[in-house]
């Protein structure tokens, strides 16, 4: 059975392993998941403090990290995170793609000029981040569970999150590892390759972005053709994830990732599909297997658990669930759980 639960310090080794495999054979790992043990330990610690409802030592806004566990083997197969406030107290950087009309009445010319403006507008929105999963689980129900469990967490802790939520989708990277958008723009200013910059952005303070990013708007027409073509385009390996998020109600707006120009999806927190369709129910036993597969979450803070189960829903506000699921959720009959259809 698959279970999503908060990450613990003991998970660190396995998370680093996923980082190793995911980084080499598939799309690169989310840049917001550190590959260094120390940084990862810090991130897990921050998550634990946040889950306890306390403020971290540095006074940073809450950040949460969850793992996908196979309850049979106890192994961790993926991670998913939420930053309650994008930027975590610092500016959160994007490019905003906007247009100017350069028109000359006298010459009868009117042309649309696309411009990338440095933007901090998404700072303070909730950010879904640090998503990684072992390659063999892509496109499975575990993949969906891991991603959507976060929305159930938000639904169960709605007060902790602002009204808007965003998620960055990895942009175009070619087979040889090069990133056209980076090579056309960022590389000139950061004087480093894409991987290095991406790693820094996961680990270092974001000060280096403020220091190195070109301070003025950039004309799209001056980018290389490959870079222009990559604007707002997802990496092909992220398409299942993108589609899942679109079903959730996320839409690409005008914001782009500053490193690879991948799309930034936005949604209203209260309009997220999983949140809207979820219901608080009372847990009851089911005598027999059967029913629709649903996401079930339960527990507050560090006790948060989310899994998939076949449940028999009732209209009375009770939910009939096999007893083995009770154990996974750490709940018993009469406790409140949250359920959302798959």
């Amino acid at each position: 059975m698959w279970l999503v639960r908060p990450a613990l310090q003991d998970d660190a080794n396995q998370i680093l392993e996923i980082a190793g495999t995911a980084g080499s054979s598939t799309a690169r790992l989310s840049s917001t998941l550190p590959r260094q043990r120390e940084a990862l330990a810090e991130k897990i610690e921050h998550s634990l403090v946040s889950l306890a409802g306390k403020t971290s030592a540095g006074g940073q806004p809450p950040r949460f990290l969850f793992v996908l566990e196979d309850t049979v083997t106890g192994r961790v197969h993926g991670t998913a995170g939420i930053d309650a406030r994008a930027g975590n107290g610092q500016p959160f950087y994007n490019y905003r793609r906007d247009a100017l009309i350069h028109a000359s009445h006298e010459l009868g010319i009117s042309s649309r000029v696309d411009v990338l403006y440095p933007s901090h507008a998404l700072t303070g929105h909730t950010l879904l981040c640090s998503f990684s999963i072992t390659p063999e689980l892509r496109n499975t129900e575990a993949f969906e569970l891991l991603s959507r469990a976060r929305i159930l967490f938000i639904a169960g802790h709605r007060d902790w999150f602002p009204p808007s939520v965003a998620v960055e989708i990895q942009g175009v990277q070619l087979a040889d590892g090069s990133v056209p958008f980076w090579d056309s723009l960022g590389r000139h200013f950061f004087n480093m390759d894409f991987e290095t910059a991406d790693q820094h952005s996961g680990v270092l303070s974001r000060t280096f972005i403020a220091e190195l990013m070109p301070p003025n708007p950039v004309y799209v027409t001056l980018l290389s053709e490959a870079a222009q073509a990559a604007l707002g385009q997802p990496h092909e390996l992220t398409v299942p994830n993108l589609e899942l998020l679109q079903r959730e109600g996320f839409q690409a707006g005008c914001y782009l990732d500053i490193f690879d120009a991948g799309p930034v999806l936005e949604a209203r927190t209260d309009a997220l599909h999983t949140l809207v369709t979820s219901r608080a129910k009372t847990l009851h036993g089911a005598s027999e297997e059967g029913g629709d597969t649903c996401l079930i979450s339960a527990g507050e803070g560090a006790g948060f658990r989310c899994t998939l189960a076949q449940v028999a829903d009732t209209l009375e506000g009770t939910l009939k669930v096999p007893v083995n699921i009770w154990d996974v959720l750490g709940k018993t009959a009469g406790d409140e759980v949250r359920v959302a259809p798959c």
């Binding site: 350069h102 028109a103 000359s104 009445h105 006298e106 010459l107 010319i109 042309s111 000029v113 411009v115 056309s184 723009l185 000139h188 200013f189 950061f190 004087n191 480093m192 820094h200 270092l204 303070s205 000060t207 280096f208 220091e211 190195l212 990013m213 070109p214 301070p215 003025n216 708007p217 950039v218 004309y219 027409t221 001056l222 980018l223």
Partner: protein, 354 residues
């Protein structure tokens, strides 16, 4: 004899022929009769002080007194950017540095600027092919510095010149192709012509306003920023010898450099001397090499004239001029004149005769 004088009504056809031959790249003198006529009119108003001093356009013709034809032209625009907007790119540097990462990157950047506004420009230099050489180009160019010096209050303290940038035989400019064309949707020659016709509004409307980071442009375009067209290299050299220097501004279309100098530091100005004319009946051999000649001008605002005479004519207080020269300069014995060297060797002659 070749004499500099204010441009006149009857110069139109000569001017048109010269502009036609010069072809593309001569943005301030397009082969357009109406426009040239307007320039002539403006020049006449300027010399006759019938227009505001800052609106003045001082155009001088080089006249061959034998054929009575204008064979060259040069000019001074009293102020630029007052009734239209005058654009340049300023070539500057953006530095991005991170101590944390040990990164320090310098990015050459073009900023759109109007910094040359309200400054005097020397412009519109054109010399017929048949008259190239023999110091004629020097006379045509340097006569302006004598005028600037003589009538300083009509001009700014600093003067500048825009040098033609790099373009090929077909009129293709690497900078235009990489930058301007992406925003203007027209050919370089077309944009250049529009700009020359005095239509600058379209620049404001279509030109990119945000800084341009040079690493985003192809090498071919970066290479021509601040560089002059091969045909303009001699003119640049001449201005550099006068003390003009690249001031970091470049043309927004072809990337040609702007050079500038303070009037009081221009070599011709520093080396010029006052004398009184003495019309002599003695025969003077005017046909000496350029290096042995000096420029001599009258001191008239309305009817400014300059020609060259042998350095040997220069005395301690006076300069001996044959009647033909005096007539060409419209002066008589005793009138004040001004001298300046045409070439380096003449400079020593002027100094020696101090």
């Amino acid at each position: 004899m070749l004499v500099i004088r204010p441009l006149q009504e009857n110069d139109l056809e000569d001017l048109y022929a010269m502009a036609q031959k010069a072809g593309k790249g001569m943005t301030t003198l397009p082969a357009d009769r109406d426009l040239l006529q307007r320039k002539i009119n403006l020049a006449q108003e300027t010399f006759n002080q019938r227009c505001a001093p800052e609106a003045g356009l001082y155009l001088f013709a080089l006249e061959d007194t034998e054929t009575r034809k204008a064979v060259g032209i040069s000019g001074i625009q009293a102020r630029v950017g007052l009734d239209e907007v005058f654009y340049n790119y300023r070539l500057s540097v953006t530095v991005n540095a991170s101590k944390e990462l040990g990164v320090h990157v310098r990015t050459p950047t073009l900023h759109l600027s109007n910094d040359m506004t309200d400054i005097s420009e020397i412009c519109s230099l054109l010399l017929s092919d048949a008259y190239q050489g023999g110091g004629n180009g020097l006379l045509l160019s340097r006569c302006r510095f004598m005028y600037l010096d003589e009538f300083r209050k009509h001009f700014s303290e600093k003067v500048f010149a825009e040098m033609r940038g790099v373009s090929d035989e077909q009129g293709l400019s690497p900078l235009w192709d990489a930058l301007g064309s992406k925003f203007f949707d027209m050919k370089f020659t077309e944009a250049d012509m529009l700009s020359g016709l005095g239509n600058k509004a379209f620049i404001a409307e279509l030109m990119p306003k945000f800084p341009i980071y040079l690493p985003m442009l192809p090498d071919s375009a970066r290479a021509v920023i601040g560089r002059v067209h091969d045909n303009t290299a001699p003119a640049l050299k001449m201005l550099q010898a006068e003390g003009f220097n690249f001031n970091g501004m470049v043309d927004i279309f072809d990337g040609g450099p702007v050079v500038e100098a303070f009037v009081h530091t221009i070599r011709t100005v520093r080396d010029s001397r006052n004398r009184h004319a003495m019309v002599t009946r003695k025969a003077v051999n005017l046909d000496v090499p350029a290096a042995e000649r000096v420029m001599v001008s009258n001191r008239s605002f309305r009817n400014f004239r300059v020609t060259t005479v042998p350095a040997s004519c220069v005395g301690t207080d006076t300069i001996s001029l044959p009647p033909a020269v005096a007539e060409a300069l419209q002066i008589e014995s005793g009138d004040p004149v001004r001298l300046a060297p045409l070439k380096d060797r003449a400079k020593t002659a002027v100094k020696a005769a101090r």
